[in-house]
């Protein structure tokens, strides 16, 4: 009964989405306030209905209702509670339902907190959200119904794929979807602006917090996914340039460009057309990501069941939204007035440079991801584009951008002074050179590129801090004075510093863990010791264990450094009983920022086991850096000027133009 209620709520949500798609838009175009006002209750009703539907499916998982096909295929009564909940979105149908739930959530948030928006804009934005909602609700109802019943109901389910039975499943998809779907708000604002044929600084001020929030979630989601792959897949890699990873990286690059160009638009009313295009592209790339992952054209951990009709339907949705919005853009972009002018060396110029490199990098990732698909469709030839391609394209495009990052915030609007900016970066330059020189002295000339990479990371970190130091007159004024200045600094400026610092940390982590990694593959018997780097690992013995739905054999290693035991690590080979599927559970031990990583291979009959051991210096900085970037985004989001639903900003002139 509850399952049918969920199905009914979903159908009703589709009907409401249709109303939301049409009525507010008609109201806005015809200037009929009563029609336009329908958007708000419709968006709220849609959230309520989709949430009801999602709750019904969750309930079916919680009580292990095996008369529901989706539960049978992806659950088991002995599965731990957390995975019964997370398992709701650990499959195609459920994950699409989560996607729509988050979309409805964002729509409702605009309806609730968009009170300071002009009525017409709000009606249009909610209407466009309705289009997306209707398309995906229809997709779920007609091709991916999670509520389909099964008769007769089996006694047990098939269990969830063991690779997915991890706390990562509870966190990674919701975060990533919050990021993907969050981009839809910027998209809806862009389409609304194009329909209205008018855009100004106030538009950027409305769009920026939403994009920033989406960007924060996307950053966290990607970092979480990367760490999950790192510890779960047992290869010790944290990024594989897998098409599905690229599918999340492309919207991230576009959203990063968008939050930067929206600043220019807000402050200087320049780059209007480009910003609108970026808003459309960011969400288009999110949709593309959904298509790549959900359509089954790719084989990956993320592609659940592949059903050709689904792929076609998503492709149609993709074409309609991307094609439609780009056509609208082509038709209306000319009517948007061009904005302020600026010299090439200026804050605007730096942000344009940022956008150029980010979009070029995004384009190379796009080509690398889609070229194999296009080639196979056209010629039937199968190729794979892997890490070497991306190292050759993405890397060289990122380096000049990263070098330029510390300059940006130090340049003035309209016309900047490069020399004065460089003068403030002397400390950063000195620190970077010092790192390279010390590195050369320690490791010799064999690893110049890696050392330059470390120098680049240092340049970014010290450069980001230099900007704040210059602003608060650190060491140039009394300490209290500096602290007072720090307090008075706008949160958005602080956010910039923190986020740029985060990139520096990530760069350091990537370079150090890749270039200075040590790896050993050894066959060991109990009692034997493997030495790697400064560590000696002794295999003490094997421990058979069992969990709720698996049995495992753990190998117990004592880790010594300088003769004393510093850690005990227990990597394991695990077998999930229902699917009789083996998995490898790597053991990870963190020493400061460095990690020791042990995963197991095959065990021979004489008690020998193959172990693969890595020492990864500074590897944790990769994800810490991402966390710091996200923290920068949150700091910027807390800026009073940008807060979602903040009272009307005190810039009457710009606002008058918006109404």
């Amino acid at each position: 009964m509850i399952v049918e209620l969920g199905h009914f709520a979903l159908a009703l949500a589709f009907a409401v989405a249709l109303v939301q798609s049409v009525v507010p838009v008609v109201g806005a175009v015809r200037n009929e306030a009563r029609l336009a006002a329908i958007g708000r209750p419709a968006a709220l009703a849609q959230l309520l209905l989709v949430a009801t539907s999602f709750a019904a499916l969750t309930q079916a998982y919680l009580v292990s209702d095996f008369s529901v096909l989706n539960v049978v295929e992806n659950s088991h009564s002995s599965k731990p509670l957390i995975f019964k909940i997370a398992g709701v979105w650990g499959n195609h149908e459920g994950s699409m339902l989560l996607w729509v739930l988050i979309l409805a959530l964002f729509g409702a948030l605009v309806a609730l907190f968009g009170r300071n928006l002009p009525d017409k804009t709000r009606a249009l934005v909610i209407g466009v959200q309705g289009w997306i909602g209707a398309a995906f609700l229809g997709f779920i109802l007609w091709t991916s119904n999670p509520f389909a019943r099964l008769s007769p109901a089996p006694f047990e389910g098939n269990d969830l794929n063991p690779v997915l039975q991890d706390i990562g499943l509870a966190i990674h998809p919701p975060l990533l979807y919050l990021g993907y779907v969050g981009c839809s708000i910027a998209f809806s604002f862009a389409v609304a602006a194009l329909i209205e044929g008018r855009i100004d600084a106030a538009w950027a001020r409305f769009v920026r917090p939403w994009t920033l929030a989406a960007w924060v979630f996307l950053t966290l989601g990607i970092a979480m996914g990367s760490y999950w792959a790192y510890y779960e897949l047992g290869w010790g890699g944290w990024w594989f340039w897998d098409p599905v990873e690229n599918a999340s990286l492309m919207p991230w690059l576009a959203a990063t460009a968008l939050i930067h160009s929206a600043v220019v638009m807000e402050k200087r009313e320049a780059l209007k057309i480009w910003t609108v295009l970026l808003a459309i592209l960011a969400f288009s790339l999110s949709l593309l990501g959904t298509f790549l992952v959900r359509s089954g054209v790719l084989t990956s951990v993320h592609a659940f069941a592949s059903d050709p009709t689904r792929g076609v339907v998503i492709l149609v949705i993709l074409c309609v939204f991307i094609g439609g919005s780009l056509a609208l853009f082509a038709a209306r972009a000319g009517t948007l007035s061009a904005g302020g002018i600026f010299a090439p060396i200026s804050r605007e110029g730096a942000l344009v440079l940022n956008n150029l490199f980010l979009s070029a990098a995004c384009a190379t990732v796009f080509v690398g991801t889609l070229y194999p698909l296009a080639l196979e469709a056209l010629t039937g030839e199968k190729i794979s584009v892997g890490a070497p391609f991306f190292d050759l394209t993405f890397g060289p495009l990122m380096v000049p951008l990263l070098i330029a990052v510390p300059f940006g915030p130090l340049l003035a609007w309209k016309r900047g002074d490069l020399y004065a900016a460089l003068e403030r970066l002397y400390v950063a330059l000195g620190a970077a050179i010092a790192v390279v020189v010390v590195g050369l002295a320690l490791t010799g000339t064999g690893r110049v590129l890696a050392l330059l990479g470390l120098g680049l990371g240092t340049w970014l970190i010290v450069g980001a801090l230099s900007e704040t130091a210059a602003r608060i007159k650190l060491f140039r004024a009394p300490v209290q004075d500096s602290l007072a200045r720090l307090k008075g600094l706008p949160r958005a400026a602080l956010g910039t510093t923190i986020a740029h610092l985060g990139i520096g940390l990530t760069v350091l982590g990537i370079v150090a863990s890749t270039a200075f990694e040590e790896e050993a593959i050894a066959a060991v018997k109990p009692g034997e010791t493997v030495a790697i780097g400064a560590y000696q690992l002794t295999l003490d013995g094997y421990l058979p264990r069992s969990g709720a739905n698996f049995t495992e054999t753990a190998a117990r290693f004592s880790v010594r450094r300088g003769g004393t035991v510093v850690a005990v690590m227990e990597p394991a080979k695990r077998v999930y009983t229902v699917r009789a599927m083996p998995t490898t559970e790597a053991a990870i031990e963190t020493f400061g920022l460095t990690q020791l990583y042990v995963s197991l291979g095959d065990a021979a009959t004489d008690g020998t086991i193959t172990a693969r051991i890595h020492v990864k210096p500074l590897v944790t900085l990769i994800w810490l850096g991402a966390l710091v970037m996200a923290a920068g985004g949150v700091a910027s989001l807390s800026d009073r000027r940008l807060r979602v639903g903040a009272p009307k900003p005190a810039r009457p002139r710009a606002l008058a133009a918006a109404e």
């Binding site: 690779v163 592949s306 150029l356 190379t364 030839e381 584009v385 070497p388 080979k573 693969r612």
Partner: protein
């Protein structure tokens, strides 16, 4: 600088970045990609040793030999031809004799495929799509072998 000059600078800069991106992409596409090949294709048309390939097929039953130091030797077959493979490292959990596999690497001068990566199935009901297609092409496709690609992860 005049307004026109500024605009030209901007366009010029965009052009430079765009050209760099296109150039890098074309260069990388000629060098950084790997073609998929079946054992029959390699036998019929031996590839040059510098070309990166993804070799797909079934792990030949009885061919897996493990040597000390983590070196593994096995053969990949599609029923018509076989290619010996050498790989150092940990094999994936679902690597099995008689099951589908994709090995990435180069064919050495001795005819042995030196793999630097071996991929197997993600779960027990899934086989890499390239392998399924290759087996279908060579007539060795047996869906009942538990390899039906209906329920990938």
């Amino acid at each position: 600088m005049t307004r026109k000059g500024r605009r030209l600078t901007l366009i010029g800069l965009a052009g430079v970045v765009l050209c760099a991106a296109v150039g890098l992409t074309l260069y990388a596409l000629s060098d950084g990609i790997s073609f998929f090949a079946t054992p029959s294709e390699i036998a019929a048309n031996p590839p040059p040793p510098e070309r990166r390939l993804r070799l797909g097929g079934l792990v030949e039953t009885g061919s897996v030999e493990k040597e000390p130091g983590g070196l593994v030797r096995f053969a990949v077959t599609d029923g018509k031809a076989r290619v010996p493979v050498a790989f150092t490292g940990l094999l994936p959990d679902l690597f099995r004799e008689g099951q589908g596999v994709v090995a990435e690497g180069r064919v050495g001068a001795d005819g042995v495929f030196a793999a630097d990566d071996v991929l197997a199935k993600h779960d027990e009901t899934y086989m890499p799509k390239e392998v399924v297609d290759a087996l279908k092409a060579s007539g060795e496709w047996r869906p009942e072998a538990g390899a039906a690609p209906v329920a990938t992860q």
